[in-house]
Amino acid sequence: MAIERTGGVDAAIDDAARAMTAAVPPPSLRLAISTRVTVAPGLGPTVTPWLGVAAAAIVVVVAAVLWMSRPSPVSTPATGGMPPTTAAAPVGAAAVPPPQVVRAAAPVRVVPRDSSVTRRTAARSVPPSTIEVTPVAIVPLSTEAVVVEPVPAPEAIEITPIAVAPLLIGVAGDALEE
């Protein structure tokens, strides 16, 4: 130890500190540990890495499923303006003009995808028809009210200045020349 004793008090401190931790571990400690280790061998060091790998694999699979099930950004705007009956074949509709051919090709492209995607896009096509009604009704009401008001104002202002101005100039000029 680096600490040197300077007297009886320091010696007493050292002895007291040593005595406070001077204890032999009880025999039950080793028995309890061996029991807990052998009773639950599945938690041992050989199994723990495999548990970690399995947990990581589960996380990856769940993340992949969630990523696959989200709606694709390409199909969403295409179905917005389309009626619900044609929402299942948004890609093939623009390329092939005849309607009968489109219906034949559409199921082939939809099959590999998750059925939940088509249900979601069909449900989204309903709200836009209700949203378009409200802004059309507001615009014409505001423009009619603005046009009516400025018409009567200019007629009332033109009457007063015409009668006053010629009377004052004529009297003052005659008086000065005389």
Binding site: A2, V9, A17, P25, R30, L43
Partner: protein
């Protein structure tokens, strides 16, 4: 057989090899938990938890430090966790008392002051130290660990450990002097 060899066998699932490691290091683990908890039963439970946890986490031991250092670090962490929960329990039991008063009353400082026994008073004075100073003093003076090991357990530099030990001794000496115990007694 060295610790490294036993660790290698234990990693492969050899319970007997781990038992050998327990036999070698259980005293050091138990002393560390006893220094932290100051109660034999609590120390035994903490030591048991630490050794079982070491078995469970043996796969994460990379050999950067010695097995003993790694094990003592686990033991000290388990003891600290248990001590925090015990302190929380004590604080709920005596919420109106000041912290210093609780510590001194709990360890019976006022009662033991009646005894004119230097060793007993030294023990009481050590108990009354702050946890940081007391931990450093008990671990360093136990004779079981070097300063490097103490620093590893407490997660502080070696110089900090030495300062804490010196400060702990100064405070204990000061308390004993106030009771009439001077150098040379």
């Amino acid at each position: 057989m060295t610790d490294d060899e036993l660790v290698r066998l234990a990693r492969a699932g050899d319970v007997g090899a781990f038992d050998q490691l327990v036999v070698r290091h259980q005293a050091a683990v138990f002393r560390a938990t006893l220094a932290a908890l100051r109660d034999r039963e609590e120390a035994e439970e903490a030591a048991q938890d630490a050794l079982v946890r070491a078995w469970q986490r043996l796969g994460s031991f990379r050999g950067e430090a010695t097995f003993r250092t790694w094990l003592l670090s686990i033991a000290w962490n388990r003891a600290m966790s248990r001590r925090r929960s015990l302190m929380a329990w004590f604080s709920r039991r005596a919420p109106l008392a000041a912290a210093d008063g609780v510590t001194e009353d709990r360890h019976g400082l006022l009662e033991t002051l009646r005894h004119r026994d230097l060793a007993r008073h030294a023990t009481v004075a050590i108990e009354a130290l702050s946890p940081k100073l007391r931990d450093a003093l008990l671990l360093a003076q136990s004779g079981e660990y070097g300063y490097n090991e103490v620093a590893g357990m407490l997660k502080v530099p070696v110089g900090t450990v030495k300062w804490r030990v010196s400060e702990a001794r100064r405070q204990v000496r000061q308390r004993l002097a106030a009771l009439g115990f001077m150098d040379g007694d």
